[in-house]
């Protein structure tokens, strides 16, 4: 049982202590191949043949990998300072003048502080602004001020806005290129820094609005987005030992949902549908899929792996992922429980 937040703690011996509360923590498991700053490098490369691309940030270039673009194209980079409202409205203004602005900050600040500006200055006008945000869901141990556990819930109700939740470096790279070509506003959850490479072994190609079946299995159908696709792929491998066959469908576009692919996969009889997302259980991919299946008359056993409807603790990221049930080990444990 956990201590009350306000009770004094016993000192932990130095060797047993996990690094806590770092703003930026790696989501890469030990030994996994990674690529550095896939978003920044891809955008910098695309900008050579797309003169309309400009980059803006609210004092978080380094923390959203936009510094790579800024170094390569200094005259096309706007430092807007710690001012997310003007970040978004200025991006709207640049789009009005025919440019393709990429505006970066943390997901909490875009979704909470700048929402009205994204809504009225960008989405209502269907402007070509790409909002790319680091620290989605639970990817920092810094506490609720930086944990964007409800960003998708906030944005899903916004007409015109495309929502992307990529899984790995490959997904980030391909999605960056795809959203550049896409006309209209996009919100993309960003994995930054050293980002794992996972999907290369699945013959994967990102396409806006398309879900991809990465793996077959007859007992469980995982439907997942973002880094949770990495986790359920690992869980699916581990569950082979229990003779539990797990299919994995990766849904990197949260809006618009690939209704056709999801319906077809979910219809296969005898498979439990488990939606896994790095987001609160309220208002995200899970509820989106549930509503879709209800509307389509697809009735399967349905489960959600998601963050609880709570403000989450500060701490080391692996501790928190275990605590809130989105680590590979916790996914495996719960699937065993549900399939008993």
């Amino acid at each position: 049982m956990r201590l009350s937040k306000f009770a004094p703690r016993q000192a932990i011996k130095a060797g047993e202590r996990k690094t806590t509360s770092a703003m930026i923590a790696s989501i890469a498991a030990d030994g996994v191949a990674t690529r550095n700053a896939p978003f920044g490098h891809t955008l910098a490369r695309l900008a050579h043949r797309r003169p309309g691309i400009v980059g803006l940030t609210a004092d978080l270039a380094k923390y959203t990998d936009l510094h790579v673009f800024a170094q390569e194209h200094p005259d096309r980079f706007y430092q807007m300072g710690m001012a997310e409202q003007v970040l978004m409205s200025a991006a709207a203004g640049l789009a009005r003048e025919g440019f393709t602005p990429f505006a970066t900050t943390y997901a909490v600040f875009a979704s909470r502080r700048a929402y009205d500006f994204i809504c009225m200055a960008i989405a209502e006008e269907n402007l070509d602004v790409k909002i790319v945000c680091a620290l989605p869901g639970l990817t920092t141990g810094y506490g609720p001020s930086h944990q964007a556990t409800e960003d998708i819930a906030i944005f899903r109700g916004l007409p015109n806005l495309t929502i992307i939740d990529p899984c790995d470096a490959l997904d980030v790279e391909q999605a960056t290129e795809a959203i550049t070509d896409h006309k209209g506003p996009v919100y993309m959850r960003l994995l930054r820094g050293k980002v794992p490479v996972v999907l290369d072994s699945y013959g994967y190609q990102f396409q806006i609005g398309k879900a991809r079946l990465l793996r077959h299995g007859s007992d469980v159908l995982f439907i997942s987005s973002g880094l949770m696709t990495m986790r359920v792929l690992e869980a699916a491998k581990a569950l082979e030992a229990d003779r539990i066959g797990c299919a994995v469908m990766h849904v990197p576009t949260i809006k618009p949902l690939d209704a056709e692919a999801i319906r077809t996969a979910a219809r296969q009889s005898g498979r439990m549908v488990v939606v896994a997302e790095n987001h609160t259980i309220i208002g995200g991919l899970g509820e989106g899929v549930a509503a879709l299946l209800m509307r389509e008359g697809v009735t399967q056993v349905f489960r959600q792996i998601a963050l609880p409807d709570e403000f989450l603790d500060a701490g080391a990221l692996p501790t928190l992922h275990d605590r809130y049930g989105i680590s590979t080990a916790e996914i495996v444990r719960r699937i065993r429980e549900w399939t008993e």
Binding site: A90, G93, E97, P101, M120, A121
Partner: protein, 279 residues
Amino acid sequence: MPRAGSNVSLAERAYRIRRHAVRMGEVQGQGYVGQALGVADVLAVAYFHALRYRPDDTQWEGRDRFLLSIGHYAIALYAALIEAGVLPEEELETYGTDDSRMPMSGMAAYTPGMEITGGSLGHGLGIAVGMCLGLKRKQSDSFVYNLLSDGELGEGSTWEAAMSAAHHKLDNLIAIVDFNNQQADGQSTATLSSEPVTDKFEAFGWHAQRVDGNDIEAVRAAFDIAKALKEPRPRVIVCDTLMAKGVPFLEARDITHFIRVEPHEWALALEALEKGRPQ
């Protein structure tokens, strides 16, 4: 460009803008007529002296951009756009009705010449910052004008944008504040005072002027100074205006943010305007 060869005075333009606005108010039996009457002189100077535009091509790349962040002032801008020949005068009969191109609150998708969607106050100046940056990228000599209200200065985002505009040395930005000292709950200075307003803008790095917004010559001179200034700073013209200017019995009303006008009073308002019409 204002219609070539026109020798119509700015005062006459302002009179006609007021008349168009009152006629629109009459269609709906209500509306933000007080604001339109108050700001008519400023709009007359903007559209018939300062701005560069083509009435038949509102997307012309070489135009000056005029951003109305205060969406409820749409009635005033429609009146100016009618007078400028962007919208046909007959269309004012549709103001605020279903499927009209002239909804109660200004929206970019509805109306030619309406550059942005206003209504959620505090957005215009930030959008203007982005447009000014974009125009500079394109090496355009167009100006971006943003008409704000004094009440709108209460929005923090306005000041984010003000700081940003100065930081980026946006000398192609001219903000106009319609300071009528009225907002929804009463006097602006009693609701959340922005005074001393020019000091604030100057402290933010702007070139600031304050004029009687119902004195056409003073407004014209202020626009000329703002445009001609060589300093690498954004410019603001704070215009003190009188709500419902030109219709004395409405000027005298205490609560003028959303004027109630009785059905018989619309004709009286038009008569009052006619009395004050420049000779």
